[in-house]
Symmetry: C2
Subunit: 405 residues, 2 copies
């Protein structure tokens, strides 16, 4: 008898009919003799409409109240699911963040889970109850409701699996697994059967939307095997797990892209200690996340500094940087919103040489100019003109042998 | 500096615009130098749509889950109100049932408040915060969410006022007070300035919908002065308070009616001990509330037994009673759904004679036949044909001097 934590996303519980379908899936698993903890998101669109309501009430709504408001969606799905499961003759019980005690820090809208009390859930499981837990929400030490950020229900599920010592965690979503690249822009994309935590993490960070990066970090930290599966079709999905020998044979496991990029270049920056801090400190103070940073070698005491931010932050970032430019006597600021980032990811890179060179030449052969490069142990990213995104993805997918069946 | 508990009903917070208006009313009270605890209902219609959702999920939804689902509406209004109040520059904080700790029994859908922890609210009040509490909801000793039944937010407000030792409680609704009768069916109805707890209780029980009877019981028990006022207009409303000399001068304070009545007569019941219990025990086991009961004097060892129930329960009640009829060898069952109850209420009745006679003759003069009569210390009710309801109310309103300005 296994203990399984399942998570169903918003499209999987979008209305009562889909909730019925998911209930049947849950029951099949239960009838196989497993113990089940089910984590649910809000109905698709529900959280967004609560967010809109909050923003109508105030342009910058109080964060404590905002979190208590937008956590309502999950309360609706878990109670409805429990009603349906009970009607079908099964023991079921919904639990909210405060009822489980999913304790987080006080960082409203993007709180981190500190600990989970497992007592209540374990007691219910022992009694044969299917426990249905509200994803996305927790409480801080003072009983304030907090939320875990976009995709937070993934993290709820993995954290519960870790705390309960579950055998594995199943994330049910609207795709049937993790793909070598986005099937919407590359028809040759293939489902990956097994992927390492680190690769999955880099893919999630580099733009693949299938799992919240934080949930992958947590799965890695506690060694929770995670299956990504479709709610709508049967199949084995993708297993996210520890690195093994088979994985290392593949140099590149996936190609990702991110169009939500904008590039800022600060021209002729005096090359003195503390200059970079002067530019990036005010950006971080305004919660602007800087992704890639490149500084050219200094010529005659001046250098160019280029970095990328999310497109939504570009106007604010430009204003901040222009202020700094005057202060530090740089020449000016150039903004380019017409860029995208493509990345190749694979644990095999560590032990293979020439991967970067192969990437650059594959892009060059198609006449795609590379504007910025950044590398990590298992990832290489290039910033290119946005219009080349699909082409670059296809070329790299093919160059690294991902096209073959 | 007074401590005031205010409650706003569903029509008062029906949308964001109305929430803004209520926020302004709250702020005016705060600016006068008062400490404020505000209890809110769900937006008008919201709880009903959640109830419909639950009933679509299962014809007889699990009560624990049902309560956790239908308590969502209040979470929405209290968080939105707090967002608006903070935007307007005031300190405000929403608190849900579990955050205050409004502890109830486990009687889902109609739970009773056992105790309220005042620590959290008092701490916030001391810091100048406007505390916005979700009405209608509580938690039981095991952290399960419970709800208090229709109109439960009135009870939340009065219970909070009692627990906090508030100076008074203001119930804001869509009418500007308690009337001598329903202004919709009797144009001569007048607002009552002061009314005793007992009269208010009888009026609420006899069909006046302005306050939940349970909230009046609680106000009486703890001596909380309650003002019933309109959210939409200014005015002093009605004060519900302890009986005083002025009140006793009025023989009758109000006339109420209740059309939600159905009458069942069990014909030729053998007049033996234990027969009434055989009829009423199975009804109460099915949660059918019996209102008036009349048993005629026994003739030749047989009697007729007549009682009234809510119309929604009539089919189930008939089935139950028909079963009992066969068992006890009564002759049969006659059901009449075409009835209504009219009542006169007044603390002055206790010390005035001839009130009942005056009521009966006023009705008789209009040719209105009385089918059943029941009396309490401060109320006399008659069951009549439904079509005479408006006429009976007008006649009684006039006969007891309530028409005069």
């Amino acid at each position: 008898m296994a203990l399984i934590v399942q998570k169903y996303g918003g499209t999987s519980v979008a209305d009562l009919e889909r909730i019925e379908e998911v209930a049947k899936k849950i029951i099949r698993r239960k009838d196989e003799g497993n113990n089940l903890v089910v984590v649910l998101s809000a109905m698709a669109g529900e959280t967004d409409s609560l967010i809109n309501l909050a923003k109508k009430a105030a342009p910058d709504p109080d964060k404590r109240e905002y979190d208590a408001l937008i956590s309502i969606g999950e309360q609706k799905t878990v109670t409805l699911m429990s009603i349906v499961l009970k009607r079908m003759g099964y023991r079921a019980k919904s639990l909210l963040g405060f009822q489980v005690k999913i304790v987080t820090d006080k960082d409203y809208t993007q709180a981190r889970i500190l600990r989970i009390d497992t007592e209540v859930i374990k007691r219910e499981i022992e009694r044969g109850v299917i426990v249905v837990v509200a994803g996305f929400q927790g409480i801080d030490e003072e009983n304030n409701i907090t939320t875990l950020g976009r995709g937070g229900s993934d993290t709820s599920a993995v954290a519960l699996a870790a705390a309960l010592g579950a055998d594995f965690c199943e994330i049910y979503t609207d795709v049937d697994g993790v793909y070598t690249t986005d099937p919407n822009i590359c028809s040759k994309a293939k489902r990956i059967k097994r992927i390492s935590y680190d690769e999955m993490l880099e893919m999630a960070r580099a733009g693949a939307k299938v799992l919240q990066p934080r949930s992958v970090e947590m799965a890695k930290k506690y060694g929770v095997p995670v299956y990504v599966k479709s709610s709508f079709t049967e199949g084995n999905g993708t297993l996210v797990t520890k690195e093994d020998e088979d994985m290392e044979k593949e140099v590149v496991s996936g190609v990702t892209y991110d169009r939500d990029q904008a590039k800022i270049t600060v021209v002729r920056v005096p090359d003195k200690p503390g200059i970079a801090a002067k530019i990036f400190t005010p950006l971080s103070e305004h919660n602007i996340v800087v992704d890639m940073i490149i500084q050219n070698a200094s010529i005659d005491g001046y250098t160019d500094l280029t970095f990328t931010v999310s497109r939504k932050d570009i106007n604010q970032a430009r204003q901040i940087v222009e202020r700094v430019v005057r202060e530090i006597n740089a020449e000016g600021v150039v903004v380019d919103e017409d860029v995208a980032k493509v990345s190749i990811i694979g644990v095999g890179m560590v032990s293979h040489s020439g991967v970067a060179a192969k990437m650059f030449s594959a892009l060059a052969q198609e006449g795609i100019n590379i504007m910025m490069i950044s590398t990590s142990e298992i990832k290489i990213s290039c910033v290119i003109k946005a219009k080349y995104t699909e082409l670059a993805v296809s070329v790299l997918h093919s160059a690294f042998g991902l096209d073959k069946p």
